[in-house]
Symmetry: C2
Amino acid sequence: MRRVAVIGVGDTEFGELWDSSFRDIGIKAGLSAVADANISADNIDALFVGNMSAGRFIEQEHIAALIGDYAGLARDNIPSTRIEAAGASGGLALRQGFIAVASGLHDIVVVGGAEKMTDVSDEESAVIQSSAADQEWETVLGATFPALHALIAKRHMHEYGTTREQLADVAVKNHRHGSLNPKAQFQREITRETVMSSPMVSSPLRMFDCAPSSDGAAAVVLCPLEQAKKYTEVPVEIVGSGQASDYLALHHRKDICTMEATKAAAKRAFAMASLAQKDVDLAEVHDNFTISEILAVEDLGFFKKGEGGKATEAGLTGLEGEIAVNTSGGLKARGDPIGATGLAQVVEIVTQLRGKAGKRQVKDAQVGLTHNVGGTGATAVVHIFRRA
Amino acid sequence: MRRVAVIGVGDTEFGELWDSSFRDIGIKAGLSAVADANISADNIDALFVGNMSAGRFIEQEHIAALIGDYAGLARDNIPSTRIEAAGASGGLALRQGFIAVASGLHDIVVVGGAEKMTDVSDEESAVIQSSAADQEWETVLGATFPALHALIAKRHMHEYGTTREQLADVAVKNHRHGSLNPKAQFQREITRETVMSSPMVSSPLRMFDCAPSSDGAAAVVLCPLEQAKKYTEVPVEIVGSGQASDYLALHHRKDICTMEATKAAAKRAFAMASLAQKDVDLAEVHDNFTISEILAVEDLGFFKKGEGGKATEAGLTGLEGEIAVNTSGGLKARGDPIGATGLAQVVEIVTQLRGKAGKRQVKDAQVGLTHNVGGTGATAVVHIFRRA
């Protein structure tokens, strides 16, 4: 397999983008990544698109062809492929792009992710998001996506003494990071009190424990590492890629406080990269709920099982901590347009490894990790990046 | 890139399978392919799943994780990835599996496709199927999927003198083939008169010009060619894989009588295979409407532009013809469970190349081709197979 580098990144603002259509934001992010990579449309060999539910959010399937068309790639009949894995759609699209370049089949590949979530009502959006969980065992019985994560949170508090305040600390930290990111959906700091007094969604999770619904898109450009210097001064190599699945419904799992798919995907990515957790300077992890980030930092191996809450409270996951987690603001503050999320994570890691992250720059960042989850953990994909 | 072989195939009946759920049929096809390949679940390195619109047909996204789970693959956290490209979802899933094995990343890969279409009303199904076309330029204005194909048919009749009877001949031939296939949804012969007197759907297309709505699933098992003899006496090599896209909306195309994506995908697949059209013994092509098969046999290069209707009328695409087209019965008679269709095509080709197609066996079949289309031609994927 050939070595693969990221040579361009781009994204849109995340938020309620009512003046832009799905195709608008998809193209905007893609063009921005293509410009960043110093290539033109003529250079592109293939397109991969991550998206969870355009069929239901905008009543349009076949969106890879749509984006390819509006990106001007139809003229040369450039292949375009959509990947769906609920919240992990973006990360899995990246993995397909990585494999396509690594295989030798394609040289220049654009991987994009997009979701337009705010064209439907909040109630409808909640139903659509819950279709990432098991429809027959969970959703149909009224177990919404926040309710399933609330079960995880309660059990984690029971098993490990994780506190309500520690959950809040995840949101406080990620809003602090978001306040330093001009692209974030929420660019203001909050306090523990903001979280603890916000409306209850599903006990113990309150509104500020949940990532928002967002419109947005993000994209990256990949090429073989050996060609990367032609396009950019600072290529970022994808040194590890790991993907794993787990039981779709929570009740089938041995332990709902552990995401086995995250553990397996991380193990595979670290093995491919020949790196260990201590080598990682920063990570973008899947904090769709505050409890999710606590599980993530444990299951990725940055902290022991049960110590994610304490580590967060102690500031070990902040910008100056042992491992800087979600410097972009994460899904919580950067925003969570589902299909775009996994690619927005890559945009942040590449920006950091290039040393271009401004006020939120992690000092001397050399190795970064992305962690993207589908459903309540039935799909996980981990990538590891190194400044080349 | 490594050479890749198909070592197992399996499928379900196609039809109105009201006693089976989506997960039932997905697992049934997968297990059948796994048994055919003489492997067990422990051998499987990855799963790819083609599906168009489970989000709308059964309100379940994230179906790769679902199928992986119910196939018993969650225990070992086997990665599972869904591909969507409307009608081309199955063929594109095959291509991702092919690339994954060719790259060296995975050895044994199962690729499945499934769709459960009959749990919604016919009206709802029509709306969902139309979301393969351009929602903002076509569907929202009432241009249904049959109506868009009716435009193509009318233009083809105008440009090339293709007759209403020749369109009917496609359906007659494919029903004849279906009558020889015990797995086909429709196993009875029809006549020109059956087609010509069936209810009008969108002029000139009548009910018997349209593939049915179907439930069903199909799956194949891939591995590196050099390992294939361990599992099967007759490996079938995937010698060519080509994918291409086109403008999503018909009005953006230069010529709606030509599917440029089919032409480009075929060109790429033949180039990879170092083969020409004359080398192909049989082809499964995307006959979701009778006019689609006429375009397909032209754009794949088996007949000159405009001569697909005449060739069909002359019997050149029958079992004993120059090129045997849709020996399975095609989408028209074998059935068209959207995400499964591209894989069912592979099941037929492999069965034929093994010499196991019974009454519909093509004599001395050595090379076969599959052609899978998304939307009205915005995605096309072509694979070429050779008995190894």
